[in-house]
């Protein structure tokens, strides 16, 4: 059977007879890598562009149409020592990039306008106390209006749009008082300019927008960066399937290019990337990523196989099905929809603050106007003072208080190996006081480990590892890895469903089922872990038993202890069998656990805890965890999780250790503390500034100074979120 790699799905025409492909590359982190890759790839004839993006860790390539196969670039990068895979921009990421650019453009325009309006304001401020002709002052005011009005109309769009969205949903957010403040300040300034008045607030209004856009842009940029890393990781997982393009010809194609009805081949040791039904073959499959159950399931004609299942023994042919055909998947999707709808009701700290803030500020402004009128001032002066109150209280610092902390905190989490999926995850994570762990793939590592390697002589174990290299079976792969085997034994023969055998120096070696190695009696008598898969190894008459299972994450116990030390409740909810869950719970010293739990039970348990007032953090990876990840107050997934779970989780952590869970909780708590502190700073500033504004002595100079002073204070305070302590466990 002939196998070809087909990357045509990722190639697009770049015009002028050129073709373009984007590759995600692993391990690029310095200028040296950048130069090495660019030179290495440009050396291929007919390549017209090879450019590394160090921020996103990607390479853009262009070449003359029809001259090269994209697979060649991947091979070339492999030679240079980098793992690469074609990358397809997801629509979510494309939106983030466009949004980020738009904010940067708004920021540029607002900053340009601020600088120029300030330049015009300074002579007016100083002219007011010395000698400036009223005509000159008016001229400067008109000029300021000419710059500030169009700039504010453009750069204010992010705020105006969001405020409008909130108002049309009959709620408020922070952008409502911002928009009202800016619009009123500009409107009043135009009226004052027409009336040849002394004070206008063009400078304050446009400066306010600039400061707020800085916060928005930083926030957006961090999110974009996180999204890019997540996108790369997804691309490097290289989800492909062997699709039949002819009766006897298969092509390795990306999952995105597979359609329902296609027939794919699933070989032993491969993880299925699509949902389908078996049409030919017989095998055992590991569905632990889907159900949490670690016991293998037999797959034969008609058995549904879900994406994420690992094929263990035989080769299968699958017919790809549409997603919602099966009961399990349909059930999970239904639960997920319900849970997601419930979660969107969470109100962010900023919105809660603005819900209190907007009415208070607007009422104060109104009372100021009425107060001055009652005190005998004219309507014009009273309204000018009222608007001054709105400008000075316009939540510049308040608008920066949360996004700046969020940016700095998500940067710190990013370094600790945690990616944020949801914008409000930090706030929710900080509140978590009960953690529910899934067992399989979360507390345990997704790959298998040999548990009794120490009990077997090193030379025998090395030999078993070398023999294991000749098998596709995942258990064999684990043995080979544990033994650090490099060179396979020549002439090894694999017997499907049984094991591998070879003859070395006249002695027969066998690795596989205990019965295959004649060690059934030994396996039966040995008191081994009920969890583990048992394989036997025989060298002539010598027989050994290897017990292979998913090991706990190296620091799982320390992490659980650290969580308990932080007064956070810990519990295990697993879809796996009871003995397996008990073993894990004992090893980790967790008192509360439930085994054999269905997705519905998991949600019920979370609801029960919610009713008791607990804020639940759910950490899980399987597809069966997806609904409970959505139902929990906040959720986390390892990067090895099923697609659906990863998309649902608020945070995703990388790597083998479990420590990022604690690190993330710590940073989130610190960040929430700083957010609150920033809000108090902003409120304190308002308490000082409002009486001054009400008394009617706020000049544009005072407004400008107060606004920049409070914004800078808040930004500096936010930077403290960077210094997260390294000792987490």
């Amino acid at each position: 059977m002939q196998v070809t790699r087909d990357f045509s799905h990722y190639v697009r025409a770049a015009g002028a007879g050129l073709q373009h492909i984007d590759l995600a590359v692993e391990g690029v982190h310095c200028a040296g890598c950048m130069a090495k890759i660019e030179r290495g790839l440009s050396a291929i004839p007919d390549v017209t562009l090879a450019r590394v993006n160090l921020t996103d860790r990607r390479v853009a390539l262009e070449w003359k149409e029809g001259t090269l196969d994209p697979g060649r670039f991947i091979d070339r990068l492999e030679e240079l020592g980098y793992k690469a895979y074609p990358y397809e921009t997801e629509s979510a990421e494309a939106t983030e990039v466009a949004e980020s650019r738009f904010l940067l453009r708004c920021l540029g325009i607002a900053a340009f306008a601020t600088m120029n309006v300030m330049m015009l304001s300074i002579p007016v401020w100083s002219g007011n106390v010395s000698d400036m002709l009223p005509e000159q002052r008016d001229f400067f005011h008109w000029l300021s209006a000419l710059i500030a009005l169009p700039a504010a109309a453009y750069a204010g769009q992010p705020f105006f749009r969001s405020a409008w969205r909130a108002l049309s949903n009959k709620t408020t957010n922070m952008d409502v008082p911002i928009s009202i403040g800016v619009c009123l300040a500009l409107g009043m300034s135009v009226v004052e300019t027409v009336n040849h008045a002394e004070h206008t607030y063009f400078d304050a209004a446009i400066m306010l927008l600039t400061f707020l856009l800085v916060g928005r842009f930083l926030d957006q940029n961090m999110r974009r960066r996180t999204r890019a890393v997540a996108g790369n990781l997804a691309a490097l997982k290289a989800e492909t399937a062997a699709k039949f393009v002819g009766p006897d010809e298969i092509s390795q194609v990306p999952v995105a290019a597979i359609h329902p009805g296609d027939i794919v081949l699933l070989r032993p040791g491969e993880r299925c990337a699509v949902d389908g039904t078996v049409i030919e073959g017989r095998s055992e499959i590991d569905q632990s990523l889907i159900t949490g159950e670690t016991l293998y399931v037999t797959a034969e004609h008609g058995t549904p196989v879900y994406a994420g299942s690992m094929n263990i023994s035989g080769t299968l042919r699958l017919r790809v099905s549409a997603a919602s055909e099966s009961t399990l998947l349909a059930e999970i999707t239904r639960l997920l929809d319900n849970a997601l709808a419930a979660r969107s009701r969470y109100m962010r700290l900023a919105d809660r603050a603005s819900r209190l803030y907007a009415p208070v500020v607007h009422a104060t402004a109104l009372v100021t106007i009425l107060g001055w009128v009652i005190a005998g001032a004219g309507w014009h002066d009273a309204i000018v003072t009222g608007v001054a109150v709105l400008i000075i209280t316009c939540p510049c610092a308040l608008g920066l208080a949360i996004p700046t902390v969020q940016t700095v905190a998500s940067g710190a989490m990013f370094k600790a190996g945690v990616l944020l999926n949801a914008g409000d995850a930090i706030e929710r994570l900080a509140e978590a006081d009960h953690v529910i762990f899934d067992k399989t793939g979360t507390l345990t590592l997704p790959d298998l480990e040999v548990m009794n390697a120490a009990a077997i002589p090193a030379d025998i174990f090395g030999l078993a590892g070398r023999l294991a290299l000749s098998s596709h079976h995942p258990v064999a792969a684990a043995v080979a890895q544990a033994a650090g085997a490099k060179s396979p034994i020549l002439g090894a023969v694999e017997e499907a469903g049984q094991g591998v055998r070879a003859v070395v120096d006249g002695v027969e070696l066998r690795l596989g089922r205990p019965s295959f190695c004649g060690a059934a009696a030994l396996a039966g008598s040995a008191t081994l872990d009920p969890e583990a898969s048992v394989v036997a190894f025989s060298k002539g008459a010598e027989k050994f038993i290897l017990s292979v299972r998913q090991g706990l994450r190296p620091d799982a116990k320390a992490v659980i202890a650290a969580l308990k030390a932080r007064n956070i409740g810990v519990e295990i909810l697993s879809g796996d069998r009871e003995p397996a869950v008990i073993a894990a719970a004992r090893a980790l010293d967790v008192a509360e656990w439930r085994a054999g739990v269905t997705p519905t039970d998991k949600i019920a348990r979370i609801e029960e805890l919610k009713r008791r007032g607990a804020k639940v953090l759910m950490v899980g990876d399987g597809m069966n965890d997806a609904p409970s990840l959505a139902a929990a107050h906040v959720s986390m997934s390892p990067i090895s999780a099923a697609h659906l779970s990863q998309a649902t989780a608020d945070l995703v952590f990388l790597g083998r250790p479990l420590a990022p869970v604690v690190a993330a909780i710590d940073s989130a708590r610190k960040a929430l503390h700083l957010m609150r502190q920033n809000l108090w700073l902003a409120i304190g500033y308002n308490l000082l500034a409002v009486p001054v504004a009400i008394s009617g002595i706020v000049t544009p100079l005072i407004a400008a100074a107060a606004m920049s002073g409070s914004s800078i204070l808040v930004m500096l305070n936010s930077l403290r979120a960077r210094s997260t302590s390294r000792e987490v466990v």
């Binding site: 310095c30 200028a31 950048m34 130069a35 030179r39 440009s42 050396a43 291929i44 004839p45 390549v47 017209t48 562009l49 590394v52 993006n53 160090l54 921020t55 996103d56 650019r101 940067l104 453009r105 540029g108 325009i109 340009f112 600088m115 120029n116 330049m119 000159q136 001229f139 000029l143 710059i147």
Partner: protein
């Protein structure tokens, strides 16, 4: 104060030129890879390998 007649348009023109330059740099993708750009500035400018003469 007639000098304002020249100075004000000049100031606006210079400011506008700065803004135009910024918008151009944004459009031509110079903000897409800030980390990479920082390193490129100090990288050695070796001539490209022989196989690919002046492909850019």
């Amino acid at each position: 104060m007639e000098i304002l007649v020249y100075l004000v348009p000049l100031a606006l023109l210079l400011g506008g030129a700065g803004l135009a330059a910024f918008l151009w740099s944004l459009r031509s993708g110079q903000y897409d890879d800030l980390d990479g750009a920082a390193w490129r500035a100090i990288a050695d400018d070796d001539p490209p390998p022989q196989e690919a003469p002046a492909k850019r």
